[in-house]
Symmetry: C2
Subunit: 232 residues, 2 copies
Amino acid sequence: MTPIHHYHNDDKVMVAVDCIIFGFDSEGLKILLIKRGFEPEKGKWSLMGGFLKKEENLDQAADRVLKKLTGISNIYMEQLRSYSKVDRDPVERTISVSYFALINKDDHDIDLTKEYDAQWFNLKELPQTIFDHPEMIERALNVLRRKAVTYPLGFELLPEKFTMRQLQDLYECILGQELDKRNFINKVNSLDILIKLNEKDKSTSKKGAFLYKFDVEKYQAKSHEGFSLKIA
Amino acid sequence: MTPIHHYHNDDKVMVAVDCIIFGFDSEGLKILLIKRGFEPEKGKWSLMGGFLKKEENLDQAADRVLKKLTGISNIYMEQLRSYSKVDRDPVERTISVSYFALINKDDHDIDLTKEYDAQWFNLKELPQTIFDHPEMIERALNVLRRKAVTYPLGFELLPEKFTMRQLQDLYECILGQELDKRNFINKVNSLDILIKLNEKDKSTSKKGAFLYKFDVEKYQAKSHEGFSLKIA
DNA sequence: CCAAAAGTGTTTATGATACACCCATGA
DNA sequence: TCATGGGTGTATCATAAACACTTTTGG
């Protein structure tokens, strides 16, 4: 039999990464988009994307692109999937690998200076996005929701001290549904990864709500056993 | 701000697909490998891989490559993940997207004529494979196991009529662990997707075991509700 | 004194697990 | 008659889900 291919250049293509950044803050779950700075579709809303360079791997490309376009760095993004429709980019054959992360919006808003045309959008009020970005976003959101129930996301997303209500709000935002307060608290307590503090946050009620912090040791000890925070 | 990139060719790279084919038959779970037909690493065992062409998408490339190297066609493969270490292919910068499928080995053995240097290997006796193929295989196996408990794989993998024991063997192979016979049967029956036939298979015992077939309508009705076959 | 959010337990239902004996038959 | 695999049911436990009233306090 003949070899399928030698290595030649005829079939080289551009490889891109697109970063899907979900952000959480007191207002809810948002997604970050930029005004695309080059043709085609210049000026339209887009995920943060750019091309893979020869001397870097995809993870590195995603980090670099995100930082260049938004200033955000040092976050953990996860590779999701490749998109390869032949005509997905009208200029030239390009495949794109999507990455996603969920971050605390407030921790990174400093980065989003005027220098960048990046903007947070409420998930329910997304503008039109270019190419196959709507599909990328939808798939990422599914993965995010699946992860949220399988694995205790969220602790990195809250301030160091937080109330049960804030934690519950986080889960409700991500899952897009309301949860029973008592069941939620029971579940979280059964995981035994929070420390109840002797302080109260009075900003949202007259009675005040106890603050909790996250027991890093217990959390880490348990997280590789893989515990599930299935909440409904 | 300046655009991050114009479209130029400096950073074009080769894009490959690698197919991970798990096969099930009466002997158990196997994986298909080929003797690589071109340099580098010619003659070593490898996943079925080849390069993406400009006029096809990744799914199509995976189908084409698999057919060319093994004769196997018309199977559903699922995209898994991109591998992009800079030096993963020593000849030239190449990223690879892995695909996987689980098939009934007997249904496709016809295809594997002498023409192909493809061979099934028992999962526990894998030979050394090239590049990052060991990692691809390991990840694919994890996905396969996760899918097996979440979603009733396996019905496509058995002959039209099969015994409970065969179905249980299938799951035990995939999960790599023994299951309790009674619990397994109870669970499967509770799904209500099998039809018990009035025939027995006497090939493995004197008493004979009832044959079942798969109730296609019920199966399909339920499968988009998404039912789980969690078995331990 | 009252509105608004915080806090708190129990019951029920469902699914998971563990477990052991009789049956039918061909050799 | 006996060895071999086939077939069957129950009790227990853990987890999920549903559910409502009292507490606190600033205004």
